[in-house]
């Protein structure tokens, strides 16, 4: 009976859902001690960054936002733009060297392109070993 109760209590514990692993991914599964203030994901003591952030949100913060609606985006974008344009335009113009005609051959869904459609489970590499 005790074992069953124990199992029931175990079920009620909120588990840390942080993705772990490098080649084979899994879930942490330890008992959670906090909930990430940014994405509300439960995190265990080992995975909680300062402020209870989950590793995903903590890492994302280190790279600035990619979301143009975020107020922090403008500042980063402006700085990046000045830095990058100074570098790119005087160096090589790769970002603009493929014209519409070039790009047209690489649309998914044409029967002529190998594999047809394009979805999240598709391979993305240019070359295959």
């Amino acid at each position: 009976m005790d074992a069953a109760r124990h199992a029931r209590e175990e079920d009620q514990v909120t588990r840390c859902t942080v993705t772990t692993g490098f080649f084979v991914l899994g879930r942490c599964g330890q008992a959670a001690v906090a909930s990430c203030p940014h994405c509300a994901r439960p995190v265990c003591a080992a995975h909680a960054a300062p402020g209870g952030l989950c590793p995903e949100c903590a890492a994302a913060r280190g790279y600035g936002t990619q979301d143009p609606h975020d107020p922090a985006w403008t500042r980063g974008y402006r700085r990046e733009y000045y830095q990058r344009s100074a570098r790119t335009y005087h160096d090589s113009s790769w970002y603009s060297s493929f014209d519409e005609y070039d790009r047209g051959a690489f649309n998914p869904g044409d029967d002529h392109s190998y594999g047809g459609g394009w979805g999240p489970d598709d391979d993305t590499g240019f070359v295959d070993s």
Partner: protein, 393 residues
């Protein structure tokens, strides 16, 4: 657990989904693991999507995944380049080595004003390979891609290639020979593997992706010539999703072999090893196209089949000859010749003792020279050559 921002000394960048069941997934895991072991961690910037987290932290390692849904390949590749530039910028002052796998990953890494070294791992050249995967691409477009490749190769400090044929292709693009380093692919020799529960009694196996240059159509035509071997089945362990198999399944119907083929899709790596180990013969029917001949390839399926101790029948291409010897680890047959392929498979089936010996030799061949440990040691040498100070780890 690490806090706040991490500053890395190493980064590995690839326009590939990671992890994945494809050969590239295995390769990236081995190479990136070696890089990060030598530089006390690092940033892995790859493609995500699906339910893969956008960011992950594992000790001193970070994985960042690009998951913008941009259908056009060139648009997507350029957006990826910009995203990589943003991510490398955070480590610009501390970065010592950036290891890249394709031109769009390389472009932000070889930028002016860098203090880090760039290792460009060339497993294939998009300017050659994309003419096969995207037949609508005009020669002038492929020319631009070739120019982009040349630009990135020229500015890289070391080029790593998995086969001599690819090394030659890189040399043809004007890269000096002393900058090109051969780091062959490897395999892990698996221990005893249980027979898959749903495995047929006797089967020939194909493992890998399904692009036209893999030659699975040649294998199917060969298999049609083995129809008299009633109990023999063909198992295809495809590393790509099921809908990619549509054209090949239609072909199988048309030539009357569909009923004798068992399809498996995107199996995890260890399950594929079990399927390989219990097969009679593993076939790598690569076609004799420009992609396989001029650009070269380093088919992991050949190495992994040998590691599993199964005799290999493969197309006689220079890149394959680098990996295995005819009559010793299996048989080499002319590419694109179904009749020859069928005959060779039939002979191996008729002489099981010889076939078993070839499988054993193949496994010994891998143990002696083509393990991942050995590949990684060679990669570590490359890092040592280009970074002046001893690199801690």
């Amino acid at each position: 657990m690490s806090h706040g921002r991490m500053k890395h000394r190493a980064a590995y960048v690839a326009f590939d989904r990671f992890p994945s069941s494809k050969g590239s997934g295995v390769h990236i895991a081995q190479m990136a693991d070696e890089l990060f072991a030598r530089f006390g961690g690092g940033l892995l910037a790859v493609i995500g999507g699906g339910d893969l987290p956008r960011y992950q932290r594992e000790g001193t390692r970070e994985i960042a995944r690009f998951d913008a849904r941009i259908p056009n390949l060139i648009d997507r590749a350029e957006a990826f380049s910009g995203w990589v530039a943003d991510h490398l910028a955070e480590h610009w002052e501390t970065l010592e080595v950036c290891h890249v796998r394709d031109p769009w990953s390389a472009l932000p890494a070889v930028a002016d004003g860098r203090r880090h070294k760039v290792v460009y791992e060339v497993n294939g050249l998009p300017s050659i390979e994309m003419s096969h995967t995207w037949p609508w691409a005009a020669p002038s477009t492929l020319g631009k891609i070739r120019e982009l490749e040349r630009f990135c190769l020229e500015r890289s400090d070391a080029i790593v290639v998995p086969s001599r044929v690819i090394g030659e292709a890189v040399r043809d693009r004007g890269v000096p020979g002393d900058r090109i380093h051969l780091v062959p692919n490897g395999a892990e020799v698996p221990g005893e593997t249980g027979r898959p529960a749903d495995a047929p009694k006797r089967y020939v196996i194909y493992v890998g992706a399904l692009q036209p240059w893999q030659g699975l159509d040649v294998l199917m035509r060969a298999f049609a010539r083995l129809a008299d071997l009633g109990d023999l089945r063909l198992v295809v362990c495809a590393s790509v999703p099921e809908r990619r198999a549509k054209p090949l399944r239609r072909l199988a119907e048309r030539i009357g072999v569909a009923e004798r083929i068992d399809w498996r899709f995107t199996l995890p790596h260890h399950e594929v090893a079990a399927w390989l180990a219990h097969a009679e013969v593993s076939v790598a029917p690569l076609t004799g196209c420009a992609r396989n001949l001029d650009q070269g390839c380093a088919p992991l399926k050949v190495i992994e089949s040998m590691a599993a101790g199964v005799p290999v029948v493969a197309s006689d291409l220079p890149a394959v000859r680098e990996l295995m010897a005819d009559g010793e680890h299996g048989r080499l047959v002319p590419a694109d010749r179904p009749a020859e392929l069928a005959r060779t498979v039939r002979i191996l089936l008729e002489y099981p003792a010889e076939a078993t010996a070839m499988g054993r030799n193949g496994r010994a061949h891998i143990e002696e020279g083509l393990t991942w440990a050995r590949s990684r040691a060679r990669l570590a040498d490359v890092y040592r050559t280009i970074t002046p100070a001893p690199t801690g780890g």
